[in-house]
Symmetry: C2
Subunit: 155 residues, 2 copies
């Protein structure tokens, strides 16, 4: 399992790719964000987004899956306190293939819980044309290697 020490500033993790189908865009939006441009192709084409467009929260959820597959699944993580910012920069339309990467921007141990590190990342989601569709600045709590915190405490 990856621990805090495995996340130095600058380390990058690449995302797997995933194609967004019209069916899943409509299914997510029907449940969570039933605005016309997310559930009806004609409404999407007539509007500013230019087609049947995924809810921004759907893009964010897909990004989360990409984070899981790129590092969280094999990390001694303790969740996240939230995100500093989540920008939806371009529409994600049915048929778009998303990918991207994340990079560590800051890494420090917690003052109150020295067995936990706080690692900040910027994740960038791109489409098949290499355009950035979403950017997220967020943090994860990640355990330090077993023994080191207590060794420090005794040193």
């Amino acid at each position: 399992m990856l621990c805090f020490e495995d996340f130095p500033v600058g380390r990058r993790f690449d995302f797997p790719s995933r194609t967004m189908t019209a069916e899943e865009i409509v299914a997510f939006a029907t449940e969570f964000d039933p605005q016309p441009m997310h559930i009806d192709e004609a409404a999407g084409k007539a509007g500013v987004l230019g087609g049947l467009a995924a809810s921004g929260w759907h893009t964010s959820a897909v990004m989360m899956r990409m984070l899981c597959e790129s590092y969280i699944d094999r990390t001694a993580g303790e969740g996240s306190p939230g995100v500093q910012s989540m920008e939806w920069k371009r529409p994600v339309l049915a048929g778009d293939t998303l990918s991207g990467h994340c990079r560590v921007t800051e890494a420090r141990t917690s003052r109150s819980r020295p067995e936990i590190g706080i690692v900040r990342f910027v994740a960038e989601v791109t489409n098949q044309r290499g355009e950035t569709v979403a950017v997220c600045d967020y943090a994860n709590m990640i355990r330090v290697k077993a023994g080191e915190a207590s060794a420090d405490a005794h040193g």
Copy 2:
């Protein structure tokens, strides 16, 4: 339809309530955030969250649905450029009933597109004990009342 002028600073919209079932927590997480505490009750109980806990992104998606029902469904909206911050402050466990409200914190017209207003909100999601589980600071683009922008342009 509600327009920019209907969103003065301080206006509040109350959310409908919604109970989070174990089934939907597991279904969302299986697709988007398959960490053990989100898909397995025993893992959730053994961990820091204290039970089968919704992915933070699931809570955010449910908040989006509450925003739709409280005002977006009847607003002349043009989407959102993203969120300034999204904090997940407490675990959302299976069986919790969520509700909450949002409030306008800032409202101005766009310099480049005077027919559009930019309205900033803070949304707060609470549980059945009145505890805040999530806070989101975000903006919506909302059209000004028809005719007023062009009247200004000619005045």
